[in-house]
Subunit: 94 residues, 7 copies
Amino acid sequence: MSLRPLGDKVVIKVKAEEVTTLGGIVLPGSAQEKPQQGKVIAVGTGEIIDGKKVPLDVKVDDEVIYAKYSGSEVKIGEEEYLIIRQADILAIVE
Amino acid sequence: MSLRPLGDKVVIKVKAEEVTTLGGIVLPGSAQEKPQQGKVIAVGTGEIIDGKKVPLDVKVDDEVIYAKYSGSEVKIGEEEYLIIRQADILAIVE
Amino acid sequence: MSLRPLGDKVVIKVKAEEVTTLGGIVLPGSAQEKPQQGKVIAVGTGEIIDGKKVPLDVKVDDEVIYAKYSGSEVKIGEEEYLIIRQADILAIVE
Amino acid sequence: MSLRPLGDKVVIKVKAEEVTTLGGIVLPGSAQEKPQQGKVIAVGTGEIIDGKKVPLDVKVDDEVIYAKYSGSEVKIGEEEYLIIRQADILAIVE
Amino acid sequence: MSLRPLGDKVVIKVKAEEVTTLGGIVLPGSAQEKPQQGKVIAVGTGEIIDGKKVPLDVKVDDEVIYAKYSGSEVKIGEEEYLIIRQADILAIVE
Amino acid sequence: MSLRPLGDKVVIKVKAEEVTTLGGIVLPGSAQEKPQQGKVIAVGTGEIIDGKKVPLDVKVDDEVIYAKYSGSEVKIGEEEYLIIRQADILAIVE
Amino acid sequence: MSLRPLGDKVVIKVKAEEVTTLGGIVLPGSAQEKPQQGKVIAVGTGEIIDGKKVPLDVKVDDEVIYAKYSGSEVKIGEEEYLIIRQADILAIVE
């Protein structure tokens, strides 16, 4: 099962890395601050700008930083994704 | 009796699947979190973009994910539907 | 006396049907949930889209579903109507 | 002294009719619900739509229904008027 | 010292007339309800509409009615003025 | 060190004049009401209107009146400035 | 690892300079008021204005002043950055 986002929307798999504290305790992702980084899983067909469809700037597999609290969290099967408008993506990490 | 949505609106039959808990109890759809998935039942004639009518991207029978709390719930006879603007549909599930 | 709505506005006679409860009691319309269905009584001359007047999609006598809490309720003589912008009409019931 | 409204504005003399209750008591206009009906006294020179000035749809002496709580109440000498944008006028009563 | 308003702005000298009450007491302007009438002192060079500069509809010396609570009050020397966008002027009193 | 404002932004040195009260006491600027007047120190390259860059209407050294609470106060070295969009400038004092 | 901002976005390294108080105590940046100045680290490909992509006005290494509370703070490795829309940059310090 896969997701095909519409228009200017982008599907992101949020990065939830383990963190080792100074005392050596491993914290799972959920014990940390809300993440703002993830990997692009699928992109929409483009954004309508002044009546023309312009392809999106991000591509599948890009690591991206996005604005806090943006997008919609959805759960498909056991996996959680974030579906976000490209305008809420701030930068690509290279 | 059927519904013919106007413009950029889409009629969705919300998916309310039974869930079997770990203990084996079957929960009906209403005991769960608000769903965000459904099947497209009817689509409007298109969205006006810069003065031109552009056909919608979703089609009848598409399984779609939509943004939480979007659209209007309506009851026609015994059936409940969600009527939603296409812009609130996030992705098609394939 | 009749109403001639302006521009993209539509006059609707709200449907308030009697309901027979399981115990056989007939509830008048006002004892139920706020209705969202009605019949089109009059339509405006059209909507201005990018400088051109486009005729409305709904016609007199259409049965329509509209978004909750939209429009203005007005009383003309003994009759109550809802005057609503076409954009708040969700679908035509056929 | 008269009022010449600007652009898409319309001057309305609000209708405040007496009402005879079932018991025969005559209520003056102020004891009733806020009215939504009035007569057009003067109209502006037109609305700018996409850079062109389009004459208004309402004319002097039209009886109109307007949206509740719209417009500005002004008092000129002893008379009270409502100055309203044409977009807040819902329909003409004929 | 004089004021040259920018763009679609208009400088108004607010009218604060004395009022003689029924009992013969003269109330200065400040004891009354917030006024909505004044005289145009200076007008801006025009409003930009769809990329073209259109001269304003009001002229110096016009008596105008404006929307309550609109504009900015400024004090130049001993004089108080209201600087307001033309869109907040409702009508010219003739 | 100098400031080069972007686009439609304008740098203003706020006027904080001494005031002599009726009793002869000199009040420094900070004991008074928030000022709304200042001198233009630098102007941006212009405002984008319908896709074309239009030079600003205010020039360096203009004395201007601006809307209360508009703009951003910034401190560069020992000096305090207000950076404001030209649209928040109401008038030029001549 | 580097950041490539999208569209009209700009990556800024916020300036957090030490301050020596009158008594000679050195305050680190975090004990002061929220800064509004920083250095441009990376710029997006441009802003879409009326359908055309216009390159940004700021360049890498520019010292800029930005509006308080604008942008999104992000942490990449040990470094903290601010990602901001160019429209929230007020001026370049020269």
